[in-house]
Symmetry: none
Subunit: 228 residues, 2 copies
DNA sequence: TCCACGCTTCGGTGGTGGCCGAAGCATCTC
DNA sequence: GAGATGCTTCGGCCACCACCGAAGCGTGGA
């Protein structure tokens, strides 16, 4: 009865090609900005905004504002399970288990807006925390004295970054861990490129570690080569 | 892309209160006639017919014509799982386990239209197959000579049932197995009541096995008491 | 054979909602 | 600060589709 209304409301949200497109794009657990989702679905920003608001209001998505972007992701494993169940039915019956995840090369290392993310980004953050260079406190991260010294030796002058928040954390959706964003995160990314420790792939946000990078990350941050 | 279209199509079918109502009414695996489903959803016959045709065409429901009635039921466990997943999300998030699951007493034993279903129905079917009394061939079941004899000794004259199909299988939604329907299934159910091996609950389709039934099923069909 | 009943098909109507352009607000960059 | 970028709100247009009444078709019973 009333149950049917609620069920229909939820299913109806998925039952629109445009919204289904956006949900499927988020199906691997990533968080994507509204603009990218609009492009994904082939619609204009206003329409996407409308749809995303509905999806969030109904609890299918949650969003995080980050600067002038707004990142959306699937709200819970239950929602993911529902999408998967619908896909199984939609795919016709020899249940092809059409499950999908982050592409491997993106999972290893990628840029998140303008800093490093993926396993690489998480490894750098972990290493800095482990060496008492950074203290993570929720969404904010503080550079500790040891961190100032380490980064200075590596070629980054943290003191010259006046802006707030100069170092923040960023939840990594494929790893479900934090990595460093903010000005410090950007500086690290930039320095990695200068040193040619990482290379960008031309047609995606994937980032791969070079041979020099493997040695460098090991020496400067104590990150085992196997992780990279 | 094309994936999203198919997903949206399936979800859209569930995303209409009227259709959701009908699907939920069929959620326990019963088969209901079109007219009853129309009443369930509070719409007229033409509208119901339209909806049911769509649901069947998309593979969510299957129908069986029986005389001038047409019985619809959920097409597959995958569809049931999908509905359940949607209900979990629709029920709000502290996952209240608002299961789209057959109530325990119904799962143990129940009537499916007019024959026995649930664990009890499946156990009887299994036992007859195991004893070479019945051969299951898809949706049809054949009574073998040993079965004629066993049922005759038990008090059922199979030969006097002229109608086709006198014995058919029926997919058991909660058990995901087959049980016996058709005229033979009805006769078995009737005989169980005569012998007082099973009792009906007044306010539901639940069926429970009596003490005499436990002994009787053990002796006549070789069904271990633990199963019941 | 006729009638009763259940389901389906056919037209027509009305409301819901997806979609966009333009304008507004917030944030980042220079 | 000024300009660029990303997202949201507003107003209006249009298509889709759920819904019904009437008529048609098939089955079962008298």
């Amino acid at each position: 009865m009333s149950n049917a209304l609620e069920v229909a409301q939820i299913a109806g949200l998925v039952g629109e090609p445009t919204r289904a497109n956006m949900l499927l794009a988020l199906g691997d657990g990533r968080a994507l900005p509204a603009g990218e989702l609009a492009a994904c679905a082939g619609i204009t920003a206003p329409t996407a905004s409308e749809h995303l608001a509905k999806l969030e209001q109904s609890g299918l998505l949650v969003s995080v504002r980050q600067g002038r972007h707004r990142y959306y992701r699937i709200a819970s494993p239950e929602v993911g399970a529902m999408l998967e169940a619908v896909m199984v039915v939609a795919a016709g019956f020899p249940r092809p288990a059409a499950r999908f995840r982050v592409a491997p090369e993106l999972q290893r290392g990628r840029t998140c807006y303008n800093h490093l993310a993926g396993q690489l980004g998480v490894a750098i953050c972990d290493a800095l925390v482990h060496k008492n260079c950074v203290a993570v406190d929720g969404e904010v991260a503080h550079i500790l004295p040891a961190g100032l010294k380490l980064l200075a030796n590596w070629g980054i002058e943290v003191r010259r970054m006046s802006k707030h928040p100069y170092c923040r954390t960023c939840i990594d959706w494929s790893e479900r861990r934090h990595h460093l964003g903010g000005a410090v995160g950007i500086a690290i990314h930039k320095r990695c490129l200068e040193l040619k420790w990482v290379e960008h792939h031309l047609d995606s946000r994937a980032v791969s570690v070079t041979r020099a990078g493997r040695l460098g990350f090991e020496k400067a941050f104590g990150i085992a080569g196997a992780v990279l």
